[in-house]
Each structure stands twice: as structure tokens, then as C-alpha cells.
Amino acid sequence: MSDTHSETVAFMRETMLPPQPPPLAQSGAIRWLRENLFSGPLNIALTLVGLGIVWLLVGAVGPWLTHSVWNAGSMAECRQIVAETWGQGATGACFALVKHRWNQFLFGFYPQALYWRPVLAFGLLFLALAPLLFSESARARRVVLGLALVLTLVVSAVLDAPGPALAGMAVAMLGWAALVEARPRPALLASLVYPFAAAWLLWGGSLWTEAMALAGFAMGFVVWRGLARFGLFAFALAVVAAAAWWLLLAGPLAAALAGVLPLRLQPVSSDQFGGFVLSITIGVAGIALSLPLGVILALARRSDLPVIKVLAVMFIEFIRGVPLITLLFVASLLLNYFLPPGTNFDVILRVIIMVTLFAAAYMAEVIRGGLAGLPKGQYEAADALGLDYWKAQRLIILPQALKISIPGIVSTFIGMFKDTTLVVFVGLYDPLKAMSDTIRASFEWKGAYWEPYIFVGAIFFVLCFGMSRYSMYLERRLKHDHR
């Protein structure tokens, strides 16, 4: 108690206190250690146990890694080199395997002369995504565009892409990057065309096949917009029109156009796909398709219309109740019994559909959580302003619900991307199991267990960690509430 005001109850401050700087943060390594690692008996014990575990791990794995051999022709040679250098009984990793067979982990049985095509498709993916994912930060977008351009060209050149292909690539990529920077809205159209371009690059064949498939979507869209005032009827008609186009007209028209102007790449069949080309193809397609499908399912599950709601619940609960492998078996084996004989329905396409449905069911639940997390007042404000259901969803509800759901959505993406390795069970060559087994089946690399897994695991980690970092960047960028 100060004695200045003790004799009187009334108090009036005559001068306001000026703000003062906060006390200097007390830092220093020793202080940090004491506070975080050695603050009490239990903490000290845990720290020591932790250090012990780290020491054991490093002791076990360290020599194996530091003794690794990068130049050898077979496992036997590796072992000999390790024994000669480090003495009998020493262990050492044989990363020479990776050096010899990296291409099979990445490209499977894709023809070696055509490696530049998947590389280009992967590089273009970033051009297609840049205007969507980095729409607000010009700097980040330019870095992504520049890196995609340079790396694609360099890697393609290293992989012996023919000169004309390299030149065409450079022109196309530069043009597209310029379009993204100069006219972002038309660039979004180019992003819509990307899946068809990528399919053409990956599978080759006549460009007209993909072009006609795209034309079907375009026609459906035109029909839908033209008749938009008829609501659901317009949508149904658009689906019918597109289906009729694909079933009746697309094939003959593609053949006719190919006769007039043959734009062909050497075809590569689906059974030549493997390794990360396969994983990334399925993963990217699944991610791109499962998000919109998940949004629709989440909205359907919250619908007031009982039929739609029940259908959505049945679909989501059925898919979530069944292991992914079951769905993959259905896709690869059972579907053939039900389809008319002679139908050739590409196995990768079937797998993509199943993986998409599987991820969409989880996505729907994640997004439903986001929708439920929005205050009721947001719906009421949108209603009170006269926005109809779809406008309210698109402009008010979904932007906020998706933002809340970003961590869950990206987790689902990452999970799904890793699940693409399960295609090994339907005879496709995933990088983790099928490709490693194939390589181990050769005489030279018999007995290599850890090395392939470490290599494949490292690539998966880089890709998944990239997605995770992007989601954190996105969360930061969308943080407007400042609470």
C-alpha cells in the first residue's frame, strides 16, 4: 500500500502513464535447456530416456547409412565393397540400386525414349494450378511458374527429349505462363483443358480422342447455360446431350478428323504405366475429382429434401464402411463381368473412379464438419439479403466452410495419395511394393530390402510434405478474422 492516497477514498489520476516497452525477452541456450528439458525430476528423466533412444537409433542406422555404396553393379558387389572398406561383418546401404533403377521407380515400364512426356505433363500441372492456387500472391505464383518451366525443360533435356519436342515445350510453356500472368481469367480456361492435354501426353494416340471428349463437356455446358432458366431440367438435358455426343458422334468424328489432320503421339498402354507416373496420375486425378464430388455430397447430406439426403447418407456410409481394396477389386475384376463383353474400359480409369469415390466420401464428411461449424447467422444473413440457395452456398457458405476444412481436406488428399500404392493388389505397378519387388526379382538386386523403401518413402514424403506446407500457407493467406 502506498501512503499517498491512504487518507482519502476518492482518487483521480492527474497524469496518464505513457506506454513502456515490454521487458526484454530472457533468452540464451542454457536458460532454454533448463526451462524446457531439465525443469524437474520427471522432465530430466524423460530427457535422458529420449536421448538414450536417439543414441540407440543413430548407433544402429548410422553406420549402415555412412557405409552406403553408390557405385556398384549388384548387391553382391555392394557387399564386397562394404566388407573390403569397413571390415567383415560391417553393414552398409546399397544405394547403387537406386542409381541403376531410379527410372523404374519413377516411370515404371514407360518407354524410355518417351520419358519427357510424363515429365512435361507433370510440369504443366503446375502451370494449370498456379492461377488457382496462387491467385493472390504474384510473387509465389511467379516462383512456381518459373521453377516449373525451367525444371521441366532441364529434366526433359537430361532425359533425352528430342529437339523439336523441347522447342515445342519451351514455346508452349512460355506462352501459357505469359497467359497466366497477363490474363488470369482465360488462363483458368486453359487449366480446364489441362486434364485432356495431360491424358494425351501420358497415353499418346490421336489428339482427337481427347479433343472430342473435351468437346462433349463443352457441349453439355453450352446446353446447360442455354437452358439455365429451366433449372434441373437443363442439367439433365446437358448430361443427355454430352452422353449422346460421346457414345454416338465422338468416335467417328475423331476418326474422321484424324484422317484429315493426324495429330498423333506414340501410344503408351496402361499396363506400361508404373512407379510414380502411375501414383501421381491416379493421385492428381483423384484429388481433382474428389473435392467437387465431396462438396456436392456434403451439401446433399445437409439437404432438406429427404430423397437426396438419404441417397447421400447411403453412399457415404457404404463407401466408408468398405475397405479401399474391396473397391479396387470390384473395379478391376467384377466390373468386367457386368460390362458387355468386348468393352475395353481402361483399368487406370476404373481405378481412378474408385479412388475418387472413396476419397469423396471422406471429403464429404470433412466438409460437412466445416458446414456445421459455421454460425447459423451466416445462413440467415444470406437468406435475409435474398440470395437463393446456390448463390448463398457459393458466395457465403462454401468459401467459409472450405476454409475451416482445409486441414481435413488436405489430410484426405495426402491419405488418398498414399493409398494409391494399394493398386498393387489389382496388378498395377505401384512404386512401393510392385516396383520394388520387380527390381528385387532381378538377379543383381536380390536381397535389397531397405533401400527401395527408403527411396520411395523419401519421394512420397517430399510430395506429401509439400501438400501439407501448401495447406498451411493457404490457411495463413485466408486468415481474415484477426481474432
Binding site: P375, G377, Q378, E380, A381, D383, A384, L385, G386, L387, D388, K391, L395, I396, P399, Q400, K403, L478, H480, D481, H482, R483
Partner: protein, 255 residues
């Protein structure tokens, strides 16, 4: 500034409510409400919590569905017809207790969204209108901030501007000052008084009795889902008729 004369020139009613009944499950929240609001009329609805006053005004733009009776807003009856509902909603502005601004949009975007997407006003024009109303509520300099950066009073004034940007003919206020700090209540009430002076048709659920005395043509007192008493503010405050309103007034004015 006591404007208690009810404008009698215009014959047609802005809002007509006839024998309105509403239940939440088995709970009878609104019982036989009859109410006609003339154009330009300003009504304050008062009453204890749970008396159904918020539910009543939320029925007027169909945020709540009524089970029997009629609500006719500006000649359009509210039924299950979605077209009618959207039409009424675009004519009736609403201000909520908790503002309900869209946190992912800037103040300006909050104000232009509905005019652009519902009224199909060109963006440039919508932005001009929005700035006009933001000036009117005296926060044009905040236009490019997000709602989370504003104080409660500022947010509520934005909410009023956002509703006005749709050029509504009727404004509903659902306890607009109940969630505000005492220091911010005045700025919001001043905005509402300015609006009242321009002749806007207003229905306001509020406990601000000073506001009611200053601008209302009529005070409606509700209890247990019924209209217990309605009168001019002068009469209602000086000479309440029912026992229930006397008790209510003594409780909110008695300290």
C-alpha cells in the same frame, strides 16, 4: 423530436399480418397475432425475453415459417412459393443482434454482394451505392477492412449499410444494440434515428426505450406470444394499460 403522428395519407399497408400462429414443436410461440403496418410507420416491439417478439419479425422475411394465418408484405403473401419469399426478402432489409457480417469479405464486398448477385446491379454502380451508404453510417474509411478489424458498433453500422444497399422499402431490426458495449449503443441508435427521419418503414425489436420515445409511431408490447398492448409511445410509457406492461416498464425503467 417527438414524432408520434401516424402517417395517414397512404392507404395501402406495407405489412399485413392476420391471425398469425406459430409453434416450435408443441410450444405455441405466436398466438393469433394481428398487425398492420402502414408505409412509413415506425414500430417498436418490446416485451420480456421469450415473448416471441424476435420470432414475429423473423416471420416477416420468412427466416421462420409460420403454421397458420397470413403475412402479406408489400402485396406479396408469404407462402411456400420460393419466388415470393425471394421477392419479399429483397424488399425487406434486416439487421441482426449479432451483426452477421460475412467475415471472409471486406466491408465493401459485404455491401455490394447482394446488389450484384440478386439485383444484378453493375459492380461499379453497386460500389458507388455502397460508399454512399457507408458515408451515411459514417464509416467510409473502413471500406477495405474486414469485419473482424472493426468494433461492434462499427460492425452493426456496416450491417445497416449492407441492408440499405438493397434499397429495401422496409427495415427490420432484431435487437440491434443488445450485443454492444454501452459506449457503442449511441452510435448505432443515431444511425437508426437518421434513417427514421428519412421516412423508412421500420419495425424494431429493442429494449432502448429512449429510442422508442424518440422515433416510434407505435409501441407494441408482447408477452407469451401475444400482443398485450399497443399504443403511442407517450401513452404507453406514461399510462400503460395492462398490469403486465406496468410490471415490465417498472423493471426496465425502475433503476
Amino acid at each position: 423530436m417527438q414524432t408520434t403522428a401516424i402517417p395517414a395519407i397512404e392507404s395501402d399497408a406495407a405489412i399485413e399480418i392476420v391471425r398469425l400462429n406459430k409453434w416450435y414443436g408443441t410450444f405455441h410461440v405466436l398466438r393469433d397475432i394481428d398487425l398492420t403496418v402502414r408505409r412509413g410507420e415506425r414500430i417498436v416491439i418490446a416485451g420480456p425475453s421469450g415473448s416471441g417478439k424476435s420470432t414475429l419479425i423473423r416471420c416477416i422475411n420468412r427466416l421462420e415459417e409460420h403454421q397458420s394465418g397470413k403475412i402479406i408484405v408489400d402485396g406479396t403473401e408469404l407462402t411456400h412459393d420460393l419466388k415470393n419469399i425471394d421477392k419479399v426478402r429483397s424488399e425487406v432489409g434486416m439487421v441482426f443482434q449479432h451483426f452477421n457480417l460475412f467475415p471472409h469479405l471486406t466491408i465493401l464486398e459485404n455491401c455490394t454482394l447482394a446488389p450484384i448477385w440478386v439485383r444484378k446491379v453493375p459492380r461499379r454502380e453497386a460500389e458507388e451505392t455502397a460508399m454512399h451508404f457507408l458515408e451515411k453510417v459514417r464509416i467510409p474509411d473502413q471500406a477495405h477492412k474486414y469485419p473482424g478489424q472493426l468494433s461492434g458498433g462499427q460492425q452493426q453500422r456496416v450491417a445497416i449499410a449492407r441492408a440499405l444497399c438493397m434499397r429495401p422499402r422496409i427495415m427490420l431490426f432484431d435487437e440491434p444494440t443488445s450485443a454492444l458495449d454501452p459506449e457503442m449503443i449511441k452510435e448505432v441508435l443515431d444511425t437508426m434515428i437518421a434513417l427514421a427521419e428519412e421516412g423508412m418503414t421500420m419495425i424494431c425489436v429493442t429494449h432502448e426505450m429512449g429510442f422508442a420515445q424518440a422515433v416510434a409511431h407505435r409501441v407494441i408490447f408482447m408477452d407469451q406470444g401475444q400482443i398485450v398492448e399497443q399504443n403511442t409511445p407517450v401513452e404507453f410509457f406514461n399510462n400503460p394499460q395492462s398490469e403486465r406492461s406496468r410490471l415490465f416498464l417498472s423493471q426496465i425503467l425502475g433503476h
